[in-house]
Symmetry: C2
Subunit: 337 residues, 2 copies
């Protein structure tokens, strides 16, 4: 089988994609299908020492540029690299799709080409948050700004299956993001969701606040897409602000410059924690196919990690497990409200 | 006139309160009325060198302890230090109330004793967020988990007046927290609020995300109490996590320990940015009286800063400006929905 890689996704495309595809093909021993403009990809692939690695190109004439409105652009350009790539998953030629492109465009293309898993009310965007103990899955981080309690309940099921199948967590602890730990805290959505979480038969640990999240008390944290997006962007912005201020201050005198030089190894771990290339990519859960989205800033190492994440998820039958769980747990739920 | 200080508020009460009251009384040349258990406060005040400073004690027999449920406890103990202190504001004996105690209890006591400003739909909790350029006011950070568009509109007005009167910002830039900068982004609440923000005649700069907030693009950021609470706790938790990891790593080898020693001055600014004692306290806006709540971790310096914040707000007629603006802008709005 093969994994499709969007050759035109990352901010620096196609270099990270070409290099990442080659190193991943070597490690994973699985074919990587690079989708994008042939005239751009082919010379780079030829120039690289491919050593007979199973990497091939499928041409997609259209490019979703960064400045464009993602969804609008995806609609106008039906032959964009994501759409062509997802066709290969739909046809069964490949078992997963990976992109470092725009998440909204990936969701749009994914829904259009592959549809939703039967029974899923709304697909969700996931993200891996660096926490004190490793990583925590958070969903939804932006696909659904307005959610209903049963959406969140399904997010919990999908997040739990993902943590099990793709991350190897045995009995994932599921938390519901709220403004207080106690049951009964929260806005109306959280209050209405709480008992649904208790009923669904997961390892539900109750409401969690940011302090529990970042301390690593949960494996999966469930939230609506608006709050999840604020959570994600706040954590990124605060980290960036602190490191920027610290860097400026470290460069302010000869003494602190010397200190910064000696302390450099210590900064390494913090930098690594915040480096999206360590995680690679997170899935769009609820799409009827494996679709992984990496950070736009992905380098070749990040692309390689993203392809590995998709490979592992496919090997562990993530999609099949999601389908089964949604079907068995939500039999009587109508597909659309 | 006088400012009332809750003598039993901070985690370390009453030491920070007694010391902070004395230094503030000296700087501000205003009487500070310390409210709390006389038997606890009096010996400490006598032991300190009060130099005839205008600090006096008003006895309050009941204490709201940290382990208790704040609002329940405030209800059960009508003679708690907040309630007695707020009576002094209500009677006109003092012009502002300051506490480092529980925010929920302060809101409960404040509403019970002073009520809402006429025309205010919901009072809001404010917080001062450290950002790249200084501080940004965010409200609501927890009083109203579920908001309506007209609540947020009033938060914007109150936040703008506060930034003008108490922080000296001439034409405060008001942002609406959303999951995208463009107009039209947001959940239903934000979409329904956007045009109300445009209509109210403030310096509304549109939607802001965390990156704009922490870059200092707005002076006041408006959000519902649930999202605001997640925002506040996320920023605190991420900062704490990064500094904890960095500290651990700095202590890992002789080289990095030496680096940390030399780099110490650089860490000072980051620490200062995150130190609640620099800000002192933030007001409960919408209560018909000046009520300032500081961080539970307040030390004497923080208490002093909090008293100064209340003193400045009172001198600049914050309460009168809030009353006038609410009345003139929301004349036709019914007091309760």
């Amino acid at each position: 089988m093969a994994i499709v890689l969007d050759g035109m996704g990352s901010d620096q495309y196609p270099e990270p994609e070409v290099t990442g595809a080659l190193t991943a093909a070597e490690e994973l021993q699985e074919e990587i299908i690079l989708v994008g403009q042939q005239e751009l990809l082919e010379p780079r692939l030829k120039a690289a020492n491919t050593k007979g690695l199973p990497v091939r190109i499928v041409h997609a004439p259209d490019v979703l540029e960064m400045g464009e409105k993602a969804v609008e652009s995806a609609r106008k350009k039906p032959n964009n690299s994501m759409a062509i790539g997802l066709d290969l998953v739909k046809s069964g030629e490949a078992r997963a799709f990976v992109t470092a492109g725009n998440t909204g465009a990936a969701m749009f293309n994914g829904l259009r080409k592959l549809g939703r898993i039967k029974g899923v009310q709304r697909p969700a965007l996931t993200a891996m948050f660096p926490v004190m103990t490793g990583y925590t899955v958070v969903l939804d981080i932006g696909a659904n700004a307005d959610c209903r309690p049963n959406f969140l309940q399904q997010f919990a099921v999908m997040g739990s299956i993902y943590a099990q199948k793709a991350l190897g967590v045995e009995n994932p602890r599921i938390g519901l993001l709220s403004n207080g730990e106690e049951a009964g805290k929260g806005n109306q959505l959280i209050k209405d969701t709480y008992h649904l979480m208790e009923e669904i038969g997961l390892n539900f640990i109750g409401n969690v606040e940011a302090k529990e999240l970042f301390a690593g008390h949960a494996d999966v944290v469930v939230t609506d897409g608006f709050t999840g997006n604020v959570l994600l962007k706040t954590s990124e912005s605060v980290a960036k602000m602190l490191l920027t201020v610290l860097k400026e201050e470290l460069m302010a005198s000869t003494r602190t410059k010397m200190g910064a030089f000696l302390a450099k190894p210590a900064f390494g771990k913090v930098k690594k924690m915040l480096d999206p290339s360590e995680v690679g990519a997170a899935p769009l859960l609820g799409i009827d196919g494996l679709v992984f989205v990496g950070h736009g800033r992905s380098d070749a190492h990040a692309i390689h990690s993203a392809l590995r994440a998709a490979h592992v998820a496919a090997n562990n039958n993530l999609l099949e497990a999601l389908r089964e769980n949604i079907q068995s747990r939500f039999e009587t739920t109508p597909e659309n409200e």
